[in-house]
């Protein structure tokens, strides 16, 4: 009798557990996994919060788990997630990284949903191109960034320069004046840039009418050794060796970040070349900092600027694609894009431009060849290596030919 009571009690308990779990399963919340770069966490956390709040309101019972990645590791993490069938629902990709993954079939086709995203008819051509493969839209432009010069207004006016220069030659003359007027700061340089900062250096190539690579007769052909490109690279070499520290010839633009050379005390640079948001980190020189567009060698024009940027993709293996698109549409709406613009980025659509320097630079921009294996050229440091060689004595044409040979190899892989 006692055992029967115990058995009955256990059965009741088991039944209760089953009922409870079923009940909770029916009201269990779903989670959307979003991978963004740390730039969002440090630069515009409110934008992310707004998007998540709006998404949750429109999709009750849903949570959003934003996981922040770093540029150096996020692709390997994505590869591991693909292999483990554990892809995020939304992922931020650099605009140069998209092509390889689109060609491999990693992203879902968003062409039929294009109209649902804000300002899609005015999206920046550069970003849209980076999100399109074989005519299919597989990414949503997120934001862009151009390059311009951040400079010390006090040091420039001390040297008698009151207006930003309007040609490259004028800039060089001004920098010479600035350098000669500054004494007592060891290691001071009129213009700090990293020698292998190809985002800045290749603007010289495009300024002289050159290009990186062209696609003809079914093959990619490197163009860095063409006459115009070599002219641009020679102009870059002359500019760098004249006004930037030679110890930076083989350094990259992350180590050290130019704004640390500029903003630390004492400031060791009168001008730096980089993204518009460098104005955030000017340290002691906040009130004496201005910006201007890098002038072209043609008087009166500015140099074509690198247009960096990010796109948002929906991995094809994801099972929650409708909600992923919903979150992206909230994240890239006009209000959020305007907020991104305020902190020094270029919004993803031209109708949101406000004629700031950043937006002006974005209107005349260059981009990398849209080749499937372009990202291998970047990770192989082909262009960085060429720039380091040029700045440390290798003849320009020879270094450019070596780079072209590497690119031909890498870009034409099957």
């Amino acid at each position: 009798m006692r055992y029967r009571v115990i058995a009955a009690a256990i059965a009741a308990l088991a039944l209760g557990v089953v009922v409870a779990t079923t009940a909770s399963a029916s009201t269990k919340s779903h989670t959307l996994v979003v991978w963004l770069q740390v730039d969002a966490k440090t630069g515009w956390p409110k934008v992310v919060a707004n998007a998540t709040a709006a998404f949750k309101k429109a999709n009750p019972g849903w949570n959003v788990n934003v996981q922040y990645q770093t540029w150096g590791t996020h692709l390997q993490n994505f590869d591991a997630a693909i292999a483990g069938n554990n892809v995020p629902d939304v992922i931020e990709m650099g605009n140069t990284e998209m092509t390889k993954y689109m060609a491999a079939g990693a992203f879902a086709n968003l062409t039929s949903y294009k109209g649902k995203f804000a300002n899609s008819s005015h999206w920046l051509t550069g970003l849209t191109n980076s999100s399109t493969y074989n005519g299919k839209l597989e990414g949503v432009p997120y934001y862009a960034g151009s390059r311009l010069v951040t400079y010390r207004t006090d040091l420039f006016s001390q040297a008698g320069v009151t207006k930003p220069p309007t040609s490259l030659a004028a800039l060089e003359t001004d920098l010479g004046k600035v350098g000669s007027k500054v004494t007592g700061v060891p290691g001071f340089t009129p213009f700090y840039m990293a020698g292998t900062d190809w985002y800045s250096a290749l603007s010289f190539v495009f300024d002289y009418g050159g290009s990186i690579a062209t696609f003809s007769k079914g093959k990619w052909v490197g163009q860095l050794a063409s006459t115009k490109s070599v002219a641009g690279l020679t102009a870059y070499k002359q500019f760098f060796l004249g006004y930037s520290p030679h110890s930076a010839a083989t350094l990259d633009e992350a180590n050290p970040a130019p704004y640390t050379v500029y903003g630390a005390n004492p400031g060791r640079a009168a001008a730096i070349f980089g993204p518009g948001w460098y104005s955030c980190c000017t340290g002691n020189y906040k009130n004496v900092t201005g910006q201007f567009l890098m002038p072209s060698h043609v008087p009166g024009q500015h140099m074509t600027s690198w247009l960096g940027g990010s796109d948002l993709g929906v991995p094809k293996q994801g099972h929650q694609q409708a909600q992923a698109r919903s979150w992206i549409s909230f994240f890239t709406n006009s209000a959020n894009e305007k907020a991104l613009q305020k902190v020094g980025n270029v919004p993803n659509a031209t109708n949101l431009f406000d004629n700031s320097l950043n937006d002006q630079a974005a209107k005349k921009s260059w981009f990398v060849p849209t080749a499937k294996h372009w990202v291998d050229v970047e990770s192989g440091n082909v262009i960085r290596h060429m720039l380091a060689n040029i700045l440390t004595g290798t003849p320009v044409k020879q270094a450019a030919q070596q780079a072209d040979a590497s690119m031909n190899n890498l870009l034409n892989q099957p």
């Binding site: 693909i82 292999a83 990693a106 010839a249 960085r384």
Partner: protein, 318 residues
């Protein structure tokens, strides 16, 4: 079974009980069975997958489709015909030789020093060595980066202040040789404690009377070391050399992080970095698997001599 046992127990003791002997004989194997099972799962299965992968084309599209394409020996052929592989192999062998040589020599010197100094100094040095040993490689790389920074590094500052020359804004990573030299300094620094402390322990086996006798007979320090000390600590040195070869040939963390992804080039590749670039950065997993198998073969060849000598010494001692 009962009848057989009875029959056996009445016979003279010429053959022991067969089933009991089998059972006793099987006990060692049963005891190590759990370990074997775990090793098979953690090491064996991935190794099997790796070998399978080496014979497949497995790039990004295959990763997404979860299916490789069998290509036979194409990956191996591609690697062996690539000049970069052979240059990298040569460079890594040279790198390993220098690193192992420096680690063993400097470690032994430090161990000899530890024997000589007073107790307090010995404690201080040992604590220092243990602290070095316990520092994670990623952390030590970051410290090295800060110390050798072009703009604000303390190394440049100290060398200039001590009048070793003008090292103001000197770039310690300007050429592949200097990059690998910095990696060597970091790897040797990190590997010294293990060698020093192990050799110090081995030195306690050297008979003091023999050393004293040799010294009285007029033998110089180097002769004493060569003829008395070295034969005694030789087995330990062989073990340490084999281990160092294994570690330094495959070193990745220090090389990759110290040089930095933006500066990794075929001219400063080490085997493990070359593998990383091909397999993970360029998403060619099949090629990476082929390279890792070739690396395994290379390391086996490099350490073959030392391992064989170790086994020979073991046989003599038995």
């Amino acid at each position: 079974m009962g009848a057989a046992a009875e029959a056996v127990s009445t016979r003279p003791r010429r053959r022991p009980l067969t089933w009991r002997r089998t059972r006793r004989g099987a006990v060692p194997y049963l005891l190590i069975l759990p370990v074997i099972a775990v090793l098979a799962a953690i090491l064996g299965y991935p190794l099997y997958q790796l070998v399978q992968l080496a014979f497949q084309r497995y790039q990004l599209p295959e990763l997404i489709a979860h299916k490789g394409i069998y290509v036979g020996l194409a990956n191996f052929s591609s690697v062996l015909h690539d000049g970069v592989f052979w240059h990298t192999l040569g460079r890594t062998v040279a790198f390993t030789t220098v690193n192992v040589g420096l680690t063993i020599v400097l470690g032994t010197l430090m161990a000899l020093l530890l024997v000589r100094v007073s107790t307090w100094v010995r404690i201080l040095i040992t604590v220092g060595l243990v602290l070095v040993w316990s520092m994670p490689p990623v952390v030590s790389v970051q410290v090295w980066i800060w110390m050798t920074d072009v703009q604000n590094g303390v190394l440049n500052y100290v060398l200039t202040e001590l009048h070793f020359g003008n090292y103001f804004q000197h770039n310690w990573f300007a050429s592949p040789f200097s990059e690998l030299a910095m990696v060597t300094s970091l790897v040797v620094w990190g590997g010294l404690p293990f060698v020093a402390i192990t050799v110090y322990a081995a030195l306690s086996q050297v008979p003091h009377e023999l050393m004293e006798a040799a010294r009285i007979d007029g033998a110089r320090a180097w002769q004493i070391f060569k003829d008395v000390t070295l034969p005694v600590i030789q087995p330990v040195l062989l073990i340490l050399t084999s281990l160092s070869i294994l570690w330094d040939f495959g070193v990745f963390t220090q090389a990759y992080l110290l040089i930095g992804q933006a500066h990794i080039l075929p001219s400063n590749y080490l085997m493990s970095v070359y593998l990383w670039e091909e397999a993970y950065y360029k998403n060619d997993y099949g090629l990476g698997a082929a390279i890792s198998i070739l690396m395994l073969a290379a390391v086996a060849i490099l350490s073959f001599v030392y391992v064989r000598r170790m086994l020979k010494i073991g046989e003599v001692d038995r």
